[in-house]
């Protein structure tokens, strides 16, 4: 070192090396901050997209149709009629040749003097208030229900926007009555499906994981067989989710001729959650000091009681953290779900049924329609919901893990 430590600092300023060394130091400092920026930018980009597109869905709903007054802007080409929005008063006039009311699907509308491509999207974009065409459908023995008019939003603003109303539909309705290309419904079926899937997976994986960890730490420590078990768990840790799903598919469906169901995908998820739970439980159990165990034995407590009442409670927080983290990981897994579970738009509690909604598959479904359809936007809403659930679980794990130990 050229600038050596000196009892009489004199001219050497130890905290500020000059010249090349300082340059390098500052350079690295800059690089480190740039690295942080590089890491944070995609985060904000993705989360920004998800929140911007998905958040409105979580607590508002678009009306089925929004009505604006518009004139045809030019002769219709192909099938996309172009209309230009005009002031609402134009439509109140008597001459019906120019301005007329058109109904746009969903809550979106252009501003006055802006254009909109008005294209029929569903059977209903034929004016919902227009008369029916012929060849009707008659429901025997029943009067057609008197239908109330929907919230047909009429924008009060001259600017472009969306008519939305506060609504908890996202959390209380499913998609059984809504097409991917229409607004309406919510994500209840997906939320319940994801939670149910996580629950079933945990019910199987957690006991297995904890018992396995107890075996490794309490009964077989050092024995040869424990090495075998440990090695097997290591293998399981390295199995990618798609291979686990493929295995369950091959066994349950191709060979045994079963069907896709929540149980099948839960089994695949168990394969993924089990090693996490087992390993973290194992680590936590190892951390429990042997002195605690020996004190318990010295007091005459049987081994199993020692484990249940002394060791496990001591490691409880860490085990819980491991379980919650395992659940968070498993809830975000998509591959097993697309292979082993059909997405069903209806709320379904039965885990053996063929169709069940889940947030990841609802998001996948959103990639199957064009990006401006309500179904695609619901995908972003589902993404935000899933992120919130996973974040929530992570926070729980962190809180549990950090809370003061009672001993």
């Amino acid at each position: 070192m050229s600038d050596t430590v000196n009892e009489t600092p004199a001219q050497v300023d130890l905290s500020r090396p000059t010249g090349k060394r300082q340059m390098v130091d500052n350079l690295i400092r800059g690089l480190v901050w740039i690295a942080a920026a590089v890491a944070i930018v995609p985060l904000f980009w993705i989360l920004g997209t998800v929140v911007a597109k998905g958040a409105p869905l979580l607590f508002t709903a678009e009306p089925d149709y929004t009505r604006i007054c518009a004139v045809e802007a030019k002769a219709p080409t192909k099938e996309f009629l172009d209309y230009k929005r005009v002031a609402a008063s134009e439509c109140d006039k008597d001459d019906t040749d120019n301005a007329k009311n058109i109904w746009l699907s969903g809550g979106k509308y252009p501003g006055v003097n802006e254009f909109v491509a008005y294209r029929p999207v569903t059977p209903l974009t034929k004016d919902p208030n227009a008369a029916a065409s012929g060849g009707g459908i008659v429901i025997k023995g029943r009067e057609p229900q008197a239908q109330k008019q929907s919230v047909v939003g009429i924008p009060s603003s001259d600017k472009a926007g969306t008519v939305r109303t506060a609504s908890a539909d996202w959390w209380t309705k499913d998609q059984s009555a809504t097409d991917l290309r229409e607004v309406g419904g919510g994500a209840l079926h997906s939320i319940i499906g994801t939670l149910e899937l996580g629950l079933i997976t945990s019910l199987i994986a957690v006991p297995l994981g904890i018992l396995g960890a107890i075996y490794l730490v309490e009964y077989a420590r050092g024995k040869g067989f424990s090495k075998v078990v440990s090695f097997m768990v290591d293998i399981l840790t390295g199995v990618p989710s798609i291979v686990a799903a493929l295995f369950i598919y091959a066994v349950a469906i191709t060979i045994l001729g079963g069907t896709r169901s929540t149980m099948a995908s839960a089994l695949a998820l168990v394969l993924l959650m089990l090693p996490t739970v087992l390993r973290s439980t194992e680590e936590m159990l190892k951390l429990v000091p042997d002195s605690l165990r020996e004190a318990s034995y010295a007091l005459g407590v049987p081994k199993w009681k020692t484990i249940m009442n002394v060791v496990l409670p001591t490691a409880r927080k860490g085990i819980l953290t491991g379980i919650v983290l395992g659940m968070a990981r498993v809830m975000g897994e998509t591959a097993p779900l697309i292979i082993l579970l059909n997405y069903g738009p209806r709320l379904e509690w039965n885990p053996t049924s063929n169709n069940m909604g889940s947030l990841p598959t609802q998001i996948m479904g959103a990639t199957e329609v064009a990006a401006n359809y309500p179904g695609a936007e619901r995908g972003w809403g589902a993404a935000l919901t899933l992120i919130l659930i996973v974040m929530g679980l992570n926070l729980i794990a962190r809180t549990v893990g950090r809370s003061k130990k009672s001993r």
Binding site: I46, I242, P302, G332, L386
Partner: protein, 361 residues
């Protein structure tokens, strides 16, 4: 392992004052306190049955059941995983034996009634290249962020940055895929086109390939973002554990911050960072949905990262809905097994490196 199971009796005895009153502890543990306790008890209580049953072995049933249960779990785990692999191998062996081309070197993949010729060379290349690019991009950034959190910033900022990077891990991979294909890939496409169109494009690896944005490069970038949180979190843990005295020794010798890190933190943390990188690599190798949504497939295998391709995971996921014959299933399982071997090898390296690092420290 020593037998630490004590003898207990079931005779209720008045516990003398001052003894441990933990209800889970059997009262007769007071035996350890010596015979005096028993003697005292016998003076004040009716004749105890203690002396008769003191030496009786307690029922070992609960213990046996419990230990049996845990042993059964252990055996079950071994059997389960063994069975999984046996089954996978058996299913794959049939098609492999009838394979008309070399499994490891062919880029063809035809699994039909008429022709059974499947090879993983193309998938292997795309998987490995995309994952390695992802790792090479993510690791330096992760190290930088980890250093920032542990050494370069205030604790408050460090916690915030750490929290934000962990948030990246909470985003499900299907969202990465959706965002990647609809938002991100088109944005970086001009950059890819520029590189491919320049003199660099003469190199086969960087030759122009696709016109759309579904390139291996785009997928690799998204993979890099996906594995960033893992590598960062693990590196951060390792850096935090650098022994204080190493650091202070460096300060004392007048090192700049970077020099301190270079001499104290990085060497200590090297094995941990390598292990973290390996784990990130393993994650990138197995990533399915994001790649499936972003990457376009091409008919003819192409070396270029600006072209399309398929990874093991994306090919299996794309076709998993149509595994209606054991032959087809076997071929895809064979590919899945190769993927598994890759991830297992990478994870094993990570474990070995991490253990070696711990041993050193």
């Amino acid at each position: 392992m020593t037998n630490t199971e004590p003898k207990t009796t079931e005779a209720p005895i008045d516990v003398p004052a001052g003894a441990d009153t933990d209800p889970t502890v059997s009262p007769v543990s007071e035996k350890a306190a010596g015979g005096s306790a028993v003697a005292t008890a016998t003076e004040t209580t009716p004749p105890l049955r203690v002396t008769k049953v003191a030496m009786r072995e307690p029922s070992k049933a609960p213990d046996k059941i419990f230990s049996g249960a845990t042993l059964a779990t252990g055996i079950f785990l071994v059997a389960l995983i063994g069975a999984i692999f046996l089954f996978l191998l058996l299913t794959a062996v049939g098609p492999l034996s009838r394979n008309e081309v070399n499994f490891l070197t062919s880029t063809e993949w035809t699994v039909t009634d008429k022709r059974l010729a499947f090879g993983i060379a193309g998938m292997l290349w795309t998987t490995v290249v995309s994952s390695i690019i992802a790792m090479c991009l993510a690791v330096p950034v992760a190290i930088g962020v980890a250093l920032l959190i542990t050494h370069y910033s205030t604790p408050a900022i460090g916690r915030t940055v750490g929290f934000l990077v962990d948030l990246l891990a909470a985003v499900p991979s299907v969202v990465y895929g959706m965002w990647g294909v609809r938002v991100f890939a088109p944005v970086i496409q001009p950059f890819s086109d520029a590189v491919a169109g320049s003199w660099l494009g003469k190199i086969p690896l960087l030759a122009p390939g696709l016109q759309s944005s579904g390139t291996v490069f785009a997928a690799a970038l998204v993979l890099a973002i996906m594995i960033l949180p893992i590598v960062t979190a693990l590196s951060r843990d390792v850096f935090e554990q650098t022994p204080r005295d190493h650091i202070e020794a460096a300060w004392a010798l007048g090192a700049t911050k970077w020099e301190m890190i270079k001499t104290a933190v990085l060497p200590y943390g090297r094995s941990g960072v390598i292990a973290a990188s390996m784990l990130g690599l393993g994650r990138a190798l197995g990533e399915t949905i994001a790649v499936m949504l972003i990457l376009s497939t091409v008919r003819k295998f192409d070396w270029s990262i600006f072209s399309g391709g398929e990874t093991f995971a994306s090919k299996i996921a794309t076709n998993a809905g149509e595994l209606d014959s054991p032959t087809k299933t076997g071929a895809y399982i064979a590919a899945g097994l190769v993927l598994f071997l890759l991830t297992f090898a990478v994870n094993a390296i990570a474990r070995v490196v991490a253990a070696g690092g711990k041993a050193k420290a």
